[in-house]
């Protein structure tokens, strides 16, 4: 019901539903109000033109055309709906059943559907109409069966996507019968788009039925539908053009009504079924408006060596979604510095704000997000002052980003050569030949063999690891000063992961580019980074040199380290776990965001947010009650029994 209301609220939806309501009115009331008038034969008024009494004129028996059009609504719509339902009733189960069949019958039905779909629908209908017999029964059956292959194809496609779902496999293992699988799992999950398509198909069926009646294969005298009226009117088009306009308009308006309604229903359903995520394009949109910046400078991170200009300086970075209700702040007061060649890791779980921090620095925040900071400097320049082309030039050549899934950064339809050289051709004006040479050299640098050949290949011809390395090579095409990598090895096998990590280490040595490496896996960061920031609830909870990470002081950071078994974990003891859920960025507690789950929380932790304090040189912790270096967390957290 709520969805229906949402549908009506859109402009298309409103127009569609208004038309459909009007049509419904004529379907119900047409034959009652105008039926007698449409049946009245008047020999004195044969084939009259439009007049005040007969706005659309009269037919060869002197009946009023307008009254006939109104009266015909019921039959026209009844037949269309009936034909659509027949089509759906035959087609949908036929297509959906493939999801629960074994491969051989599945292929057979697939071939059958392919064959019937390739047969033109209207031709099939005419063919059937001739077999079944001329008349409204024949026409309805013909249109019904004619539209069945379309429904079958749609439900086959939708059902195939359900087939890939593990819940179907799980139900099969539970011994659920095929019929139940079909009704309980398949049809239920493909129902919405099918209903939608059925709604939209009524318009098409109306058109097809009118077509058949127009050709004399559909409704026979003395009954009449809009198609027959149109056919009658066309005979007199020279004397009274309005006679054919009436039924014609009725068909067109009704058809549009169904389509508009279906269209907006589709939008509403689509939103509900698949929540909209910011696409790649949107993510790439630059931050136009920097938010308010707090005036007073915050203490910077002590981690970077003094005397050299840092590559990146971040002070008091926050990311907010001001237009969300309630407004949320998934990143709060993040401060750190990066020296040339330094590799800093950011660890945290989903929702900790680690990716948004990186996206804010790369200015790739999703729509609706705003970043603000006391200071955000890249190579000594205030990033907030960059605009338009300048910003894309700097970001495109000096600050590449590597994502978890390399395919988000690669265009599947273009050769690698084109993709690798694009940025340098646009931003640096490098000639094509030179750019290609550089690309081959960069591919070699990330240990991709036969680089010249690879430049002529498409992304799908590479393995997952090679793709990720190609994306890294793409980032090396300019003069990268800071590489941001967001879970770059999470989807890779461990041996490939090690290779990619080695490449990153090598690059930082040869190019002196700084790096921010984001991962949920502390061990991965330990391999590569000199320093690791652990984030929770949008805050940096701990900023530790990598050597001190195994003895992390913040309880959450320690849990991240100890929750994952390594080769030395005692097998007879449970892993460290922490009960509860991370806080929602829209409802952060006033004190430490980790306090509600923290086994060491004090009264104070729930009321006050602890400040970052240095516990040893270059090691900051945001905690009132940190662990000591050799305390273990496992003993502090009770095993996961309630």
């Amino acid at each position: 019901m709520r969805r229906l209301r949402a549908t009506v609220r859109t402009p298309t939806g409103f127009a569609g539903s208004a038309i459909l309501l009007l049509v419904l009115f004529f379907v119900v009331a047409g034959p009652i109000l105008w039926g007698p008038q449409a049946a009245r034969i008047n020999p004195l008024d044969i084939l009259a033109g439009p007049s005040a009494r007969h706005p659309l004129g009269t037919d060869e028996l002197g009946r009023d055309i307008l009254a006939e059009v109104f009266t015909a609504s019921r039959l026209s719509l009844e037949l269309s709906v009936l034909a659509t339902l027949i089509g759906a009733a035959v087609g949908v189960p036929l297509g959906a059943v493939v999801a629960v069949l074994s491969p051989r019958p599945r292929r057979l039905i697939g071939t059958l559907i392919n064959f019937t779909v390739s047969f033109p629908g209207l031709l099939l209908a005419i063919f059937l109409a001739v077999i079944v017999g001329v008349g409204s029964t024949g026409a309805v059956l013909a249109i019904g069966f004619g539209s069945a292959p379309g429904f079958a194809r749609l439900s086959q496609t939708l059902a195939s996507s359900v087939t890939e779902m593990d819940y179907l496999a799980a139900a099969r293992l539970l011994g659920v019968s095929r019929t139940r699988l079909l009704f309980r799992h398949v049809l239920r999950n493909i129902g919405e788009p099918i209903i939608l398509n059925v709604t939209m198909s009524v318009g098409g069926a109306l058109l097809a039925l009118s077509g058949l009646s127009f050709l004399g294969l559909g409704v026979q005298p003395p009954s009449y539908d809009w198609g027959r009226l149109l056919s009658d009117g066309l005979a007199n088009i020279a004397t009274n053009p309005l006679e054919s306009l009436g039924p014609g308009a009725a068909i067109v308006i009704t058809g549009i009504g169904f389509n508009l309604f279906g269209e907006s229903l589709a939008q509403v359903l689509g939103q509900r079924v698949a929540p909209r995520r910011p696409g790649r394009k949107e993510r790439r949109r630059l931050l136009a408006e920097p938010g308010a910046r707090p005036a007073q400078p915050l203490p910077a991170s002590p981690g970077s060596p003094a005397g050299r200009q840092p590559i990146l300086r971040v002070e008091g970075l926050s990311v907010t979604f001001p237009r969300q209700r309630p407004a949320s702040r998934p990143v709060r007061d993040v401060s750190f510095e990066l020296a040339p060649g330094e590799i800093v890791g950011i660890a945290g779980e989903s929702g900790s704000g680690k990716s948004l921090t990186a996206l804010a620095i790369a200015r790739l925040l999703p729509n609706g997000a705003e970043a603000s900071a006391a200071r955000l400097e890249f190579l000594g320049n205030d990033m907030f002052t960059w605009r338009g082309a300048e910003a894309s030039r700097i970001l495109g050549t000096k600050l590449p980003m590597v994502f978890q899934d390399p395919m988000t950064s690669l265009n599947p339809a273009l050769h690698l050569g084109i993709q690798l050289t694009e940025a340098s051709q646009v931003h640096q004006g490098t000639p094509r030949r030179q750019a290609l040479e550089r690309a081959a050299e960069r591919l070699r640098a990330v240990r991709i063999d036969r680089p010249d050949e690879r430049l002529c290949q498409y992304p799908h011809e590479l393995s997952g690891g090679q793709r990720q390395r190609a994306v890294i090579a793409m980032g090396l095409m300019g003069e990268p000063r800071l590489i941001i990598a967001d879970e770059p090895t999470t989807a890779l096998d461990t041996t490939v992961q090690r290779q990619v990590l080695a490449i990153f280490r090598e690059l930082s040595e040869t190019t002196h580019s700084a790096m921010i490496m984001i991962s949920h896996d502390v061990a991965v960061l330990g391999e590569l980074c000199s320093r690791v920031l652990v984030m929770y609830g949008g805050l940096i909870m701990e900023d530790a040199p990598v050597g001190e990470l195994a003895g992390a002081r913040h309880p959450y950071a320690r849990m991240l380290v100890e929750a994952v078994p390594d080769l030395g974990t005692a097998r007879d003891r449970p892993l460290a776990t922490i009960q509860g859920q991370p806080p929602s960025p829209a409802a952060l507690p006033p004190g430490c965001p980790f306090a509600p789950r923290c086994p060491r929380a004090l009264e104070r932790c729930r009321l006050e947010l602890p400040a970052a304090t240095e516990v040893s040189p270059g090691h900051r912790v945001r905690c009132f009650n940190p662990l000591t270096f050799d305390e273990t967390l496992v003993t502090l957290v009770e095993p996961a029994t309630p």
């Binding site: 293992l173 461990t494 490939v496 090690r498 029994t641």
Partner: protein
């Protein structure tokens, strides 16, 4: 033998040039009440093997037996399969339109419980996986990833399986949740005594949970040993390269163990001789006196070697 016994199992897909033999003659035992782990990279065939065990794909050859009888003869119509599976992604393994109660009721249908019995049993199952009874009437999307995985485990347990196959059950979850799920599965196994085949790409996870670990490479089991033993003294160079590649906090990696080529060859065209030879750090590409590996498949005769290692030089 009580328990699951696989002999010479072959699983393949496709025809002609696109033909892929994902599992190529696997022998594996999961004795009753034991936890056996299966490790391998993507493309090693470990998921295909899992699907063959539970009957989601038909093996092309070999035998799968439970307690000495073919597994297919255990199946009864409308009864759950004696081997149940927990899948990697709980987003996909729970029907988005069914509440937890509906999903569990489906799994309990075969027991023909009455209304009250069903309610009590659902409560018991939820308690078993440490979920509150208030979860019962929620849809999967109202649950966190860890909670969903717990529901999936509860559903598998509802079928009272003899063997549980757990395929990468923690890799889609957050770190803090992974630990909790591993703890849970170990605890449940201890209480209920089912046997389990745990499949993972992470050797450390398998070692932590399982008594015995099997390493799979390009469709074959290349080494089997007690988990601790395998980690302490691996016999097959591939197992060693997996161990060497594992990121470890605070210890430096053993680079001499790493595979020459980080990526596995195309499983559709496995190399001749030893399948690992193009990547082997101690094989023919590294030392010229090991030409044997180019020509001769080390799989036959692995029974006699320590850890059943499919390597001509397993004793070195």
């Amino acid at each position: 033998m009580k328990g699951l016994r696989l002999r010479d199992v072959v699983v393949g897909y496709g025809h002609g040039s696109s033909r892929l033999v994902a599992v190529d003659g696997v022998d594996l035992d999961v004795p009753e009440g034991q936890l056996v782990g299966l490790v391998g990279e993507s493309g090693s065939g470990k998921s295909s093997l899992a699907r063959a065990i539970v009957g989601l794909v038909n093996p092309l050859g070999g035998t799968i037996e439970l307690d000495g009888r073919p597994l297919s003869s255990h199946g009864e119509r409308k009864r759950p399969h004696p081997v149940q599976m927990v899948f990697q992604d709980p987003d996909s393994s729970l029907d988005p339109r069914m509440t937890v109660r509906e999903s569990l009721s489906e799994a309990l249908e075969w027991r023909k419980l009455g209304r009250a019995g069903l309610r009590a049993e659902i409560g018991r199952l939820l308690e078993l996986v440490q979920l509150g009874s208030d979860t019962a009437d929620r849809l999967p999307r109202a649950l966190s990833g860890g909670q969903r995985q717990r529901v999936a485990i509860a559903r598998a347990l509802a079928a009272e399986p003899r063997v549980l196959v757990a395929d990468e059950i923690t890799s889609a979850l957050d770190v803090s949740v992974q630990g909790a799920i591993l703890n849970l599965i170990k605890q449940l196994q201890g209480e209920l005594g089912f046997s389990m085949l745990l499949i993972s790409h992470n050797l450390a996870v398998v070692r932590y949970v399982c008594d015995v670990t099997a390493v799979m490479y390009l469709g074959r089991i290349v080494e089997v040993a007690a988990s601790e033993e395998l980690v302490r003294a691996p016999r097959h160079p591939y197992s060693r390269s997996l161990l060497g590649a594992l990121p470890q906090l605070g210890t430096s990696a053993r680079t001499e163990w790493l595979a020459l080529d980080a990526e596995a060859p195309d499983p559709k065209r496995p190399p001749a001789g030893c399948r690992f030879h193009p990547r082997c750090p101690v094989g023919p590409l590294a030392s010229s006196d090991r030409q044997l590996c180019l020509a001769e498949d080390p799989q036959p005769g692995s029974e006699e070697r320590p850890h059943r290692a499919a390597c001509h030089f397993a004793l070195d």
